[in-house]
Amino acid sequence: MKKHLIQAVAIVLLLGLAPLANAAGIRNGVVKIGVLTDMSGVYSAIGGKGSVVAAKMAVADFGGKVLGKPIEVLSADHQNKPDIASAKARDWADTDHVDMIIDLLNSGCGLAVQKIGAEKKVIIINTGAGATALTNEQCSPYGIHYVYDTYALPKVAASSIVKHGGKTWFFLTADYAFGHSLEENTAAFVKADGGKILGQVLHPLSTSDFSSYLLQAQASKAKVIGLANAGGDFINAVKQAREFGIVKGGQTIAGLLVFLTDVKSLGLEAAQGMEFATAFYWDRNKASREWSKRYFAKTGAMPTMDQAGVYSGTMNYLKAIKAAGTDDPDAVMKAFRAMKINDFFAVNGHLRRDGTMVHDMFLVKVKKPSESKGPWDLLKIVRQVPGDQAFMPMSQGNCPLVKGKK
């Protein structure tokens, strides 16, 4: 009896250790990439099916195989619910043995999944969520924050606007954690560059009537009205600002988190003259135009920075596997950190210890209707801001992994 027990324990232990034994090469004979995104909700136009297309394009362009083994793309809808996202991520890690999860789109989901990635050793490439916590207090050795964060966007937009005369600011802030942190970060940059904050007003999430808030903003006589909100709130605020003649009255509207799809749905008439920061614009150079046109042929829309980031992230992940000669997450992360990332999406990119993929950001301005030559000719690039100036320096961050290194 006792002998049987010992045998059983030994078998269990051996089985438990088995996954550790074959670290080199591709585990399970296949590389699985999971695109976890919002397919049906408010962010589905920013990521959604477009992100899945982008990931599949990256796999096809890479040749469909890495180190001689096939690559598979899975996708799921997290419905913007952190519990669904985390359940799916766990399921992928435990039963499907997914090697990398990309997109995520929503900070709550992003943080939850990154935590699971750290626990299960799955690489998480976050292209859609903006929370700086991903690379600070909640940073992970397997987490990559690929496209933008709520530090870099306002940094690029605010410093540049203040330097060019937008000295006085008034904020319209969505009343939840994301809006508050966006406003707080922006206000700090405005003040650091010698600007002044004249006031702020909070509005509830998903507001349809902005008139009272906009009137306060107008009455403040601030040169710049900063919109610390996103998506539908941002679009509504801009549309209504136009009805109040705010831009004609000489005030500038600054969006602090704007995607290409927002500008598209606003239309140039309403959005013209607005400045904001972005990580990617399809019409930036030849390479980005070529890729975006291929993407357009498949989806009927130009890519957002998130979708382009999914392609670039997937591509560079596969390159990192090739460089490391294995899909072992530790080795892949090491190879990823050693790579220079330069493609149609990222300029002068490199992956930092805390998980931030530092790359150049762009300040863009929405074109006037008269300047636009086509339905997607929406933006012009005002300035390229080097990644080191755009992203938060690691010395200011509080990622435990970085502190551990010192």
Binding site: M39, P82, K88, D91, A93, D94, L111, K120, A177
Partner: protein
Amino acid sequence: MENSLNKKLLVVLLLIGLGAPFVVYPVFLMQLYCFALFACAFNLLLGYTGLLSFGHAAFFGGAAYITGYLVKNAGFTPEMGILAGTLAAAAMGFVFGILTIRRQGIYFAMITLALAQVVYFVALKAPFTGGEDGLQNVPRGKLLGLVNLGRTYHLAGKSLELNLYYFVFAIFCAGFWLLYRTINSPFGQVIKAIRENEPRAVSLGYRVERIKLLAFVISAALSGTAGATKTLVFQLASLTDVSWHTSGDVVLMTLLGGLGTVAGPVMGAFTVVSLQTGLSSIGSWVTVVIGAIFVICVLLFRRGFVGELSRIIKKVFEGDLPSEDSGRIQGRQEGKQAPGPGAASG
């Protein structure tokens, strides 16, 4: 009361429950148990007391946040955390109950919904909940300081979280047993009497409001247990848990499975959660599919899966003396087509 067949069935189900994690993905099973317990607790109110609460997410999510906070920040052990969450939900249930219990039908549903929205707002705004990011990274901790619930066993290429699984399974069984006992106790008889004919229960000398309040508190407390357990499983509490969608989901689970049947809500919860999980790769169609199933269910088998099944079984064994227990439930089912379907579609 129970005949030997019922007992045998129970043992078989228990054995299946014990062996299930080796076949089906354990985290998914744990999710099923949490929602099944939630639906059973809800059924005590809707199915047996005849009160449609549209605010049960407040207890489920409220307990989830409180347990998450205490386990994460105050160093509570998991069992203490769940106990605290349950007590908090019971206290909330008491307050909700005092405010709402005199109302009936749509008014009761609306007031509970309004109160639940207040809880939602608190969860969105209070500093400790993490707003729309939710309360993340809740540790699973050690049960009684001894058993590590976060432990993962690797068996034949699978990662199994067996400690946590059996803990959650035990909680589910205990909660289910408690509800079963409640329903089959004299107290259970009284709440059913109130559901059928409240003035008559009053005339018989029962203090109806107190009894309804007690049923409400029990239901809230066990919903809280379910929410608290869910926090440990997923290691997070989020706004989804307190949102009115969750309140709607639990109504749907109960109705699909069979209102006023003991096993119905369990079946309903299994169906809804399986659909939500299994279909998550088809995106926005999930809601359409679940909606269609709901419509079909309401049109074709209004007693729900289990209600319809037990009716068929009863028909087949006509002449056979049906167990007293199922006979009673059946009798009540005929008379009542709960306020549910109409209200839930909104």
